[in-house]
Symmetry: C2
Subunit: 436 residues, 2 copies
């Protein structure tokens, strides 16, 4: 290994010094032995791009590394081999990565929003310039899903995938399930513990999970599902009654990201994908994903189902897979940025109204005779058959009536609930979730 041991160090420029960036700086200093054992080279941090240069930040840097506020000082520096983008956001990050690729730098990023919303040009640039564009940290933290899909499972046909991809939402749902908290209380607790941002929109409204799902769809199927078209429903305002009712039926409510290939009769394929809360039977491994953990299930042919579970976020876990991406570049891996040789193609999309599923439905009705008959009649008119019904007694006049249906389409369910609405028996809007 003399040959490798005498190799030049790999020179790195880092953009962004937030929690993950700070974690990477720490790992690069602590893990010199690991890096050398894994690659036979050293990794040297030359420059860090920040918005403001402060003495506190400068103190965290290794010797010989300097802070800069000038993007070009990173992207154009001939002595930098790799630019690590951990600044987040989309505009400036896109400009930085483009310019770095134009200068022939390899890229490591964990920026799921950028990659999901606007990365086609970046992947093209990386291909043209024969650069690596690696992003293991952008999906599900330390769960090794990007590398798994681009390499050991590349010989499989992935036919569907399903995941719990947002740790914040899963924490909130777990607390609501285990401790009977309501949504607002569980969100506040997540914020106090640092699991949720002050503005929790990206997490609880499902957009973070949808960003990650967009990346997984490309990696698994080689298809592009435009992020703007992705159906996304989050968990904001989830009623703890539904979580309790689901439990009585033997289910947990989880925020699920799902994508599924449909082979149509005419030989074409269409993709069904989206993010939504759903009931998952307690006997499934997916139902047992607790707290801030993430999990992904891949269904491949001929591999069968593969399930991966781990921490979905956190500064050091994410920094550690960013480091793994740097190790791959230090080893001299060839670009395999998307897992496919050519540009991925636009997916033909199954519109959400065609999705088939069993449903959990809760309606609030007056506790009167005839209500169940009217409800069942509206369902039957759309060929929806009810599998199980629970009607709870209540001291009040308005009671929840909960039922689970056999499989139907989203369209039929919407129409049936519209008919129920027209009967005038509903006291509040109906709540309904898919069952997995």
């Amino acid at each position: 290994m003399t040959q490798q041991a005498t190799q030049e160090p790999l020179y790195v420029g880092l953009a962004g010094m937030g929690t993950v960036g700070g974690g990477l700086i720490q790992l690069l200093q602590e893990d010199k032995d690991l890096i050398y054992r894994r690659t036979g080279r050293r990794i040297v941090l030359r420059k860090v791009l920040v918005r403001n240069v402060t003495p506190e930040r400068a103190a965290q840097l290794p010797e010989g590394c300097e802070l800069t506020t000038d993007m070009a000082a990173l992207t154009d520096d001939p002595q930098i081999d790799v630019v690590v983008e951990l600044m987040g956001g989309t505009g400036a990050a896109h400009a930085l990565i483009s310019r770095a690729l134009e200068h022939g730098k390899h890229i490591v990023t964990a920026n799921k929003a950028l990659l999901a919303e606007d990365s086609e040009a970046l992947f093209d640039l990386a291909r043209t310039n024969n650069c690596l564009l690696r992003y293991e940290g952008s999906v599900a933290g330390a769960i090794p899903i990007v590398g798994t899909l681009t390499d050991p499972l590349a010989g499989n046909h992935i036919v569907s995938l399903m995941g719990i991809l947002n740790g914040t939402s899963n924490y909130i749902l777990s607390e609501m399930t285990t401790n009977g908290m309501d949504f607002d209380g569980a969100l506040r607790q997540a914020q106090e513990l640092g699991y949720a941002e002050a503005d929790p929109t990206l997490d609880v409204d499902g957009f973070d999970a949808a960003h990650k799902l967009t990346l997984l769809i490309r990696l698994a199927f080689g298809l592009d599902y435009p992020f703007a078209s992705m159906p996304v429903q989050g968990i904001r305002g989830m009623d703890k009654r539904d979580i309790a009712m689901a439990r009585e039926f033997g289910y947990r409510i989880k925020l699920i990201a799902e994508a599924r290939l449909h082979n149509e009769a005419d030989g074409t394929t269409r993709l069904e994908a989206g993010v939504f809360p759903a009931l998952v039977h307690h006997s499934f491994l997916m139902a047992r994903v607790g707290g801030v953990y993430n999990a992904i299930r891949l269904d491949g042919a001929p591999s069968g189902p593969i399930f991966l579970h781990g921490r979905g976020a956190g500064a050091l876990p994410t920094a550690s897979v960013v480091l793994s991406d740097l190790l791959a570049i230090a080893r001299g891996d060839k670009p395999n940025n998307t897992g496919f040789a050519n540009r991925i193609v636009r997916a033909a999309i199954v519109p959400p109204e065609e999705w088939r599923s069993r449903y959990y439905v809760r309606v609030m009705v007056h506790d009167e005779s005839g209500v169940l008959r009217d409800l069942a009649g509206c369902m039957a008119a759309e060929n929806i058959s009810m599998a199980q019904v629970i009607q709870k007694e209540n001291e009040k006049n308005v009671v929840p009536l909960v039922f689970m249906t056999h499989e139907t389409t989203a369209q039929a369910m919407t129409r049936a609930l519209q008919k129920v609405h027209e009967t005038g028996i509903l006291q509040t809007a109906p709540v309904y979730y898919r069952i997995i």
Copy 2:
């Protein structure tokens, strides 16, 4: 991608046409589109080495591919880029791979016995000749564990790993647990279903799991644990009473392969590793691995725990990851055969008598007063404290007395049970398993 699209095909020679070899031939014919999408190249099977050339075998081959019984026709053919070894066994496979590497061929194999018992020279040869030696199919079938450890988790320090690595044993234990079968009946059923060989030694006596554990230890820690020194205990003759008793305590009995790094006070590290039946608490994901499935849990710093679950065997699932290895070679990946830049080093070993664990113990005793006192006295003499005791009433005079201990060493447990033996209260040899 014109550049890649006009690349030469990758030419492959295959040794062995058993179930996995036959599966690979099938996938290479069915998956031409997948292969081209993933690599921009074609993969062409040129020759297949078999012991006997038969018309039935010849009929399974693609056009232009020929059968041969001459090893050198594969290893020395300048028109073959990669030799895929799926013949099994150690002697002939070792000779074949050595000779192919000497001729500069890349290697793909799923031969865990060969890699575990005698592969140091092969990895050295691959390094010297700058060849890829890939073996994703050798551990846990379609679970992508080799690639996970060499790439996306390379930036982590794996501190321990644990797995259910033998599907046959797990099937037998699952049947004994779920259906109350005894060991012989469950083994016979596994044989009838094709999950167990006529000679089940490798599976039920733990050697297959130990082969895989040996490979995982190298990949996770960069350490060599000589296979011949590995402590291995299988499940042959497991008593269904112990499975039922374990359930009463809230545990499942699983055949566990485990490896754990110990950081010693003097700054050195030692490795504790082995294969053994153990009690796993039902709330752990590992306890929920059923039937012929496999699972692996990796504990890394800073990644935290990562859990992977999937089919551990099967002709097509294994062939599909063999195909993934071929895709990596077709992409022109650089050798990263062990995940480390230099030769891996010999592990310092924690001898089994020093292992610390909680224990499940079952002894058969006469149903007399004083027996529990004598037993507890022997345990106390070795500083072993008993956490829970179950004594069952029985119509016979000899009854099972089952207890779980707090943590102790294997050595203390052996000595305590020797003392119990000397009291004369034991009617049969004691049964004891570790608790995880």
